[in-house]
C-alpha cells in the first residue's frame, strides 16, 4: 500500500506535467501529417533499380494483378541489355501468394519491404551487374523442377495469355 502511494504521488506529478504541458507525447507527427494530407507512402514493392524488365512476374501472377508499364526511355543496365518495361502491381487484385517474388530472377518484387515467401530468396545484396554477368540459362532439370513448384493454374494462365 505504501509503495502504491509513493508510486501514485510520483505518477501524479508525471501525469500532471503530461496533461498541462503536453510532455512525453509519442504520437508520430510524421504519420499524422501524411494521413491528414492523404499521402501515406505506398508500400515499396517493385525495386525499379534492379528490375530487368523480363516480365516473368507478369506471367506467373495467378490473379493478373501485374501489368508491365513501358518505360519512356529504355535504361541500359549493362552493355547490350536495357530495361524497357517495369511491372506495376495492382494491390486490389494481389493475393500475396508471392509467386512473382519466387519467379523473379533477382527478387526485385516484394524485395525488401514486404513479406518474402519463405522459400529461399538467394542473395539479395548482389548488384545487378554481377547477376547479369552470370550465365542466365537454367539447366533443363532445374526448369522441370521449377515447373512443379509453380501452380498448375498459373501455367495454364500463361499459356492462355500466350494463345490470345
Amino acid at each position: 500500500m505504501i509503495a502504491f502511494i509513493r508510486l501514485m504521488i510520483e505518477g501524479a506529478y508525471k501525469n500532471f506535467v503530461r496533461v498541462a504541458a503536453r510532455r512525453d507525447r509519442i504520437t508520430s507527427i510524421e504519420i499524422r501529417e501524411s494521413v491528414a494530407s492523404q499521402s501515406v507512402p505506398m508500400q515499396e514493392t517493385v525495386l525499379d533499380e534492379t528490375c530487368i524488365g523480363c516480365s516473368g512476374c507478369f506471367h506467373v501472377c495467378p490473379t493478373q494483378a501485374i501489368t508491365m508499364v513501358q518505360l519512356e526511355k529504355p535504361v541500359e543496365i549493362i552493355e547490350g541489355y536495357s530495361r524497357t518495361q517495369v511491372p506495376r502491381i495492382d494491390f486490389l487484385k494481389c493475393i500475396y501468394c508471392l509467386n512473382c517474388h519466387d519467379i523473379c530472377p533477382i527478387y526485385s518484387v516484394f524485395g525488401e519491404a514486404a513479406p518474402i515467401h519463405a522459400r529461399d530468396v538467394g542473395a539479395p545484396r548482389l548488384t545487378l551487374q554481377e547477376i547479369l554477368k552470370k550465365p542466365v540459362r537454367a539447366p533443363p532439370d532445374k526448369i522441370l523442377e521449377l515447373s512443379k513448384l509453380i501452380p498448375a493454374e498459373s501455367i495454364a494462365l500463361i499459356s492462355r495469355r500466350e494463345n490470345n
Partner: protein, 398 residues
C-alpha cells in the same frame, strides 16, 4: 467444445438464465461465441463456440509444394505468424534430416522470442482492455511497438516476417552489426520502461483486487485439460518444451512456474517470462556465431508423416504432414495451444462473477483463428456433422 467433453460430473444445478456474447463484441478480438449460464451474476457453466472463423486452412495445404505451403503456414495466424513458419520447417527438417547452420538457428530463436514479446504484450493490452483499464492497455501497446519495429527491421514486415525457411533463415533476415547494436539498445530501453510498467501494475490495488483469486485452475485440472504454456505454468504445471528443444540448448533461461493458478498468476507468469525472453535475446545477439545462414543442400521428396512440437507463446503447438514423392504436402495437421487452453478456461470461469469470467477467458490469451475446425455434433446416435449441415438441417436458431 464442452459438449464433446462431459467429463466433469457435477450435480445438476438450476440455471436461471443464459447470457450470450459475440461473435462481435468488445471483449472478443476475434469471432467466437461465449455462452454463460448464470445464476444471479455467477457463472454456473460456460460454453465457448470457437468454430466461427472457419477457413478450412488445413485443407488449403493439401497438394501444395512444400516451399509454397510456408506462405499459408505463416498466415495461419497473424499473432503467431513466425511460430507457424518455424514449426512448419521444423517438420521437414526433422523428417528429411536437413542440417540447419547454427547461426540460422540462433536467429530463429531471436525472432521467436521477439514474437513472444509482441504476443505477451498484446495479451496485456487485451487483458487490460477487458479489465476496463484503457491506459494500461495503451501503455502495453506502446511498449509492443519496440518489437514490431525490430520485426520489421529483421524481416521486412511488422507481422509476416517470414524469417525461417527450409534449411535456415532467409538471407535478408541475417543480422548485420548495426542491427545487432540497434537490437541491444532497444532492448535496454524497453527493459527500463517495462520494469516501471510492471511495478506500477503490481502495486495497483484496484487491478490486483480484480485479478487475485479469480478464475482458479488447479494443477490437476490444467494437466487434465492439457492447458499448456503460461496458462498451465501459472497453475504449477512445470512444462515448457523449450527446455527440450535443441534450438534452445545454448541458452540459459528460467522457466517461470507459479502455483496460484488464478488470473493474477497468469498475468504475472507472462510478465516474468518477458524478462527471461530479454535474457535469451541478449544471449543470441552477443554469442551469435559466424557462418552461413542457410543450407540449400536438400531436395524435397517422399517423407513419412512427421510431427514437430514447439513451445509457442501460448503453449504447445503441433504441426505435422507427410510429403509424397513429388514433395507435395499430404495431410497437414495443426494442433494449436488455444484449443486446449480454452477448454480449461471453460472450467476455470465457473463460479465467477460474469464480468470476472470475461477476464478469466481473456487470461488464457484466447485467439482462435488457428483452431477453427470441424466440430462433432452428436444427436441420438453419435454422428458427425459439419456446421453447414447443422444449419441446413436445423436452421440458424433452433
Amino acid at each position: 467444445m464442452a459438449s464433446q467433453n462431459p467429463v466433469k460430473q457435477k450435480e445438476v444445478v438450476e440455471i436461471e438464465k443464459e447470457l450470450s456474447f459475440g461473435p462481435i463484441h468488445p471483449a472478443l478480438l476475434e469471432p467466437y461465441r461465449i455462452r454463460l449460464f448464470v445464476n444471479d451474476e455467477y457463472v454456473e457453466d460456460c460454453e465457448l463456440t470457437v468454430n466461427v472463423a472457419y477457413r478450412g486452412i488445413e485443407k488449403l495445404f493439401e497438394g501444395l509444394p512444400i516451399e509454397r505451403a510456408l506462405v499459408i503456414a505463416e498466415k495461419v495466424c497473424g499473432i503467431c505468424s513466425n511460430v507457424h513458419a518455424f514449426n512448419a520447417v521444423r517438420v521437414i527438417e526433422g523428417g528429411l534430416n536437413i542440417e540447419v547452420p547454427t547461426r540460422a538457428s540462433y536467429i530463429r530463436v531471436l525472432v521467436h522470442e521477439i514474437q513472444r514479446m509482441t504476443s505477451h504484450l498484446l495479451f496485456f493490452g487485451h487483458a487490460f482492455e477487458v479489465l476496463g483499464h484503457e491506459t494500461f492497455a495503451m501503455r502495453s501497446f506502446l511498449l509492443r511497438e519496440t518489437f514490431m519495429d525490430l520485426m520489421a527491421y529483421i524481416g521486412g514486415n511488422r507481422v509476416m516476417a517470414s524469417v525461417p525457411i527450409i534449411g535456415g533463415i532467409r538471407p535478408r533476415a541475417d543480422l548485420t552489426e548495426p542491427l545487432k547494436k540497434t537490437i541491444l539498445s532497444r532492448l535496454d530501453e524497453f527493459e527500463d520502461k517495462y520494469t516501471d510498467y510492471v511495478n506500477r501494475i503490481m502495486a495497483d490495488p484496484m487491478v490486483m483486487s480484480r485479478l487475485t483469486g479469480v478464475g482458479l485452475l488447479s494443477k490437476d485440472e490444467a494437466i487434465k485439460w492439457y492447458a499448456t504454456g503460461p496458462t498451465g505454468r501459472a497453475s504449477g504445471w512445470d512444462f515448457d518444451l523449450r527446455r527440450d528443444m535443441k534450438e534452445y540448448k545454448p541458452f540459459d533461461f528460467k522457466v517461470i512456474v507459479l502455483n496460484e493458478g488464478d488470473n493474477k498468476a497468469r498475468v504475472v507468469a507472462r510478465a516474468l517470462e518477458i524478462f527471461e525472453s530479454i535474457k535469451i535475446m541478449r544471449q543470441v545477439v552477443k554469442n551469435l556465431p559466424e557462418g552461413p545462414v542457410v543450407n540449400r543442400q536438400w531436395i524435397a521428396g517422399k517423407m513419412d508423416y512427421t510431427i514437430a512440437y514447439i513451445e509457442t507463446y501460448r503453449g504447445e503447438l503441433m504441426h505435422s504432414y507427410g510429403l509424397d514423392e513429388h514433395g507435395l504436402i499430404r495431410n497437414y495437421k495443426i494442433r494449436t495451444p488455444t484449443i486446449t487452453n480454452l477448454a480449461a478456461m471453460e472450467q476455470a470461469c465457473i463460479g465467477d462473477h460474469v464480468t470476472d469470467a470475461m477476464v478469466t477467458i481473456a487470461s488464457c490469451d484466447p485467439c482462435l483463428t488457428c483452431c477453427t475446425r470441424a466440430e462433432v455434433v452428436e444427436k441420438g446416435r453419435s454422428r458427425v456433422m459439419t456446421d453447414q449441415e447443422v444449419v441446413r438441417n436445423y436452421g440458424w436458431r433452433h
